[in-house]
Symmetry: C2
Subunit: 209 residues, 2 copies
């Protein structure tokens, strides 16, 4: 297909497609004439992935470049490519250098070790959980890691089936897209459902004037 | 206590305490001499609440003012004060005017209605869930509201016990602080636990090169 059709089928504006080509995020098409190239389904899949990373994941172009490069790297296992995406999605977890956060981080690392989970040593979710643990203590909330054990027991089977939903033999771009979009939309649904539940429970318990 | 002790016990810098006094977020102390006032435990509780809203909730001063005013308003039930806080915390949920989001919003409203939940018609989590639903469809993910039903079944008992953790007869500032911090730190723990689980499951299933 020509660039006009690629733009139409992907829903990505032609100028944006050209920008991704110039930036090397989208590989060049096959030249068919002077100033004309032919694109195929792989270009469509790549555009879907880029839009998922930008629109759904909120990633910067630099972060998109890293995820796309990992998806293209045949030497990486699918999981290693996913781990690059997980890390990019969690980059918002800020490093807090307070002493209680550092102490909480050591506890989180030991907790993950005890659970026997295979997690990147630099995974931003280690920091995110440590920050939550330190904050809970500053405000006198007990047992956040016990609560996390409870969450893991509840969510374990769902997480397994979510990951199993990713089509193993499919194109790498499609797999990474499924991981990124699946991680984020079910997370948003989980959060929204929890907050709606809390508001409803609060109305039941504290609604009387 | 004098302002120096109030600053020390709350961990809030003296200049910041004075700023909150000028802004009316912190009520004035009892005058005891020219340019001197006496503060008490209620001032400490208010400072804790303000810091929870700013540092943990990431709220703007304008939003803090709204939550604090609701906490002070004796005509509101505790739940109505909490609902102001819930709404402020969810203000990041952006209104997307796309047609598929509007359609998803109607489905979310009907879903909440079917579940019999008492939820503010303007609650930002309605929009957040609708946005997730529309995004999931754009990328071909099935049954997000079915997944939300599953999340509700899993989280219902936890949400009930979380809300029950709020001390009913306590000072309003303390109750709102518990609702805000509790909502956010357990949410962060829930998210981090889910993402760690996904990364671990991915390593198990897709880790081979």
């Amino acid at each position: 297909m020509r660039i006009a059709e690629l733009s139409e089928r992907s829903g990505v504006a032609r100028a944006t497609v050209k920008f991704y080509l110039r930036e090397g995020l989208l590989p060049p098409g096959t030249p068919v004439a002077r100033n004309q190239a032919e694109y195929d389904e792989r270009h469509l899949a790549r555009l879907r992935l880029i839009r998922a990373l930008v629109d759904v994941g909120g990633l910067s172009l630099a972060a998109v470049r890293g995820v796309v490069a990992a998806a293209d790297d045949g030497a990486l296992s699918a999981h290693e490519a996913f781990a690059v995406a997980y890390r990019a999605l969690g980059a918002g977890a800020t490093a807090d250098t307070a002493e209680d956060v550092a102490e909480a981080r050591r506890e989180v690392d030991a907790w993950i070790e005890r659970r026997g989970w295979t997690i990147d040593p630099d995974a931003p979710m280690r920091t995110a959980l440590a920050t939550a643990l330190a904050t809970s203590r500053r405000f006198g909330f007990p047992g956040l890691l016990d609560a996390a054990d409870g969450f893991a027991a509840l969510l374990g089977p769902i997480a397994a089936s979510e990951v199993a939903f990713v089509e193993p033999g499919g194109p790498r771009d499609r797999m990474v897209e499924q991981v990124v979009v699946g991680t984020l939309v079910y997370e948003q649904a989980l959060l929204a459902t929890r907050r709606l539940l809390l508001e409803h429970e609060s109305a039941q318990r504290f609604g009387a004037p």
